[in-house]
Amino acid sequence: MSSIYFNAEHEAFRQMVRKFVETEINPHVEEWEAAGIFPAHQLFKKMGNLGLLGLTYPEEYGGGGVDYWYQTILMEEIGKADAAGPPLGIAVQTDMATPALAENGSDTLKREYLAPAIAGDLVAAIAISEPGAGSDVAGIKTWARRDGGDYLINGSKMWITNGTQADFLCLLARTSDERGFRGMSLFVVPTQAAGFSVSRKLDKLGHRSSDTAILAFDDVRVPEANRIGPEGMGFILQMRQFQRERLAGTLMGVSGMEKMIRRTITYCRERETFGQPLIDNQYIHFRIAELLTEVEALRQLAYHCVRLYIAGEDVTKEVSMAKLKGGRLSREVADTCLQFHGGMGYVEEYPMARYFRDSRLMSVGGGADEIMLGIIAKYEDILPRRKKA
């Protein structure tokens, strides 16, 4: 692809990642989907050996020390995998559970957890949502109470990707009685700690090859040194971490949509009805052209976000817009592509049905569409004014 964004080195990197996906992920997708899990330790070690798990992180911790365009390529290429489960697990490792640790963790904490995560020796998970608080992060109830030089963590976390395989969690917990977001802190919690348990693995509509779990914490003791950043700053740090999560999700979503559309074009060229290929119907090729236009527009918004992110700007509003649009568009693209596949789109023998199921997450995970709308409205100062008491 010739592009003003990517040079020959980027393209060589893209080809390498593409080959990795085609060789190390796609041939195993059916088996992993059936098993309800992919072998994260095995896959991540291979990725770590190639330097794929810490592209933007400092070289002193084994990272690549490059800007987010490389991560953009990684997300775009893994987003084209034949199932969205493994890419999600990878993105949790690189863009959801480790950015705050890389930016705000102590050197010791980074050497103990970030460096092995980059090397692919440890699997990470992000533990924010709870049975009673998902997108509404300020409502979390898991507590980390001081006990000598340690914290004792009690509570439960839900919808945790990589949850049954993770070696450590980046976990948000309350550390004071202050209401709302002020009383929260971020921690690195090793899953071998006493009192930690996986309550159960969740059976999901899509992303079936990715393990998602409910986790329980019963007096889980973590040292103060495992806190990321200052006490009480956890919510702020997590909100920043969310921006990278949502950007990565959008980039994967864009390439996933493109994959669905390209597959649909191929199918519609081959499939003949009433004596002509399906694609020759104006409704079909116009509709595909329209969807490609929408996807391209979203890609450019995502690239704009990448540029802002690299420049160190606050990307909250733009990333929220991109994720909102991505979630809605992926539903539209998946639905349309399935429709154009007819019966072949409805059977599990063909990947379209899986793409359709997988596409639904983007509007729900990492902050639902409605949360994105709230953030955008807040940034635009169009939320209802609170009445003074």
Binding site: M1, A8, E9, E11, A12, F13, Q15, M16, K19, F20, N49, L50, G51, L52, L55, G64, V66, Y70
Partner: protein, 262 residues
């Protein structure tokens, strides 16, 4: 001990070959994939790197003959772990057949100096002749070891390899220097790493021309008098119908006998 890996840049494995009525040919990848290092050469590059890692080779030098665009194949070799890469490029090399290519490669291998092993893939996926390795060995006066599926020992001035033949394997020991052509059973090629790609993209690749190598009259002794596309295959599909699997199977077997397939 230096090892040279001779590579070629080729179309991707998914590219389609088009033969026009005038005999000119072109490759076009429907997915837009760029040209790549010849897939069979990935095995030879990997084996070259393993000779450094496991058998004490001091340098693993990738060579390719081609235009400037062939540097990308050499960068892949560097990104995988070759220590050096050299592009053999000159207008005088254009249109070379395999013998002409072998002449240039042999001159380059001699110019590198102290090379004990030159490794090739079994063939290039575009021309698919599989002749360049043995022709290069002939030009160098070295022992050719073809279809090598394993290098089992290197030392004391000799090399022992396994050759994969139609009816089995044979173990061969030959004095160094040798030219080896590899088969895919020899190893599992590594991916170029991220840091390898970064390093390779910054590498300056030297270009050796006809003057540097002291070769002339490369050209081609082969004349392609006519190039034409294969006629399209014709075939039809017949669905075997029946009330039960057994009945369908019986019908199928009868049909296969009738068609003298079995």
């Amino acid at each position: 001990m230096k090892v040279v890996v001779c590579t070629k840049q080729t179309p991707s494995t998914t590219a389609d070959l088009t033969v026009r009525p005038d005999g000119s040919v072109s490759w076009d990848d429907p997915g837009g994939k760029p040209n790549v290092v010849n897939p069979w050469d990935e095995y030879s590059i990997e084996e070259g790197i393993r000779l450094k890692e496991n058998h004490g080779a001091s340098d693993v030098i990738a060579l390719t003959m081609g235009g400037d665009e062939s540097q990308e194949a050499l960068k892949t070799a560097l990104a995988m772990g070759c220590t050096e890469a050299i592009l053999l490029s000159d207008a005088a090399f254009a249109g070379a057949d395999t013998l002409g290519t072998a002449k240039v490669l042999a001159a380059a291998i001699n110019k590198v100096g102290d090379v004990q092993i030159a490794i090739f893939g079994k063939s290039a996926i575009d021309g698919d002749t599989g002749q360049t390795a043995v022709q290069t060995a002939r030009k160098l006066g070295w022992t050719p070891l073809t279809f090598v599926s394993a290098i089992t020992a290197v030392g004391n001035g000799q090399i022992t390899v396994e050759r994969l033949l139609d009816d089995g394997k044979e173990t061969v020991t030959a004095p160094l220097p040798v030219v080896i052509s590899t088969v895919k059973e020899i190893n599992e090629p590594r991916y170029p790493s991220f840091m390898g790609i970064r390093k390779a993209s910054r590498a300056t690749i030297p270009v050796w021309g006809a003057g540097d190598l002291g070769v002339d009259g490369v050209g081609s002794k082969v004349d392609w008098s006519k190039v034409y596309a294969l006629p399209a295959r014709e075939g039809s599909v017949e669905i075997i119908d029946g009330d039960s699997v057994q009945q369908k199977a019986a019908k199928l077997v009868a049909k296969l006998f009738e068609e003298k397939v079995i």
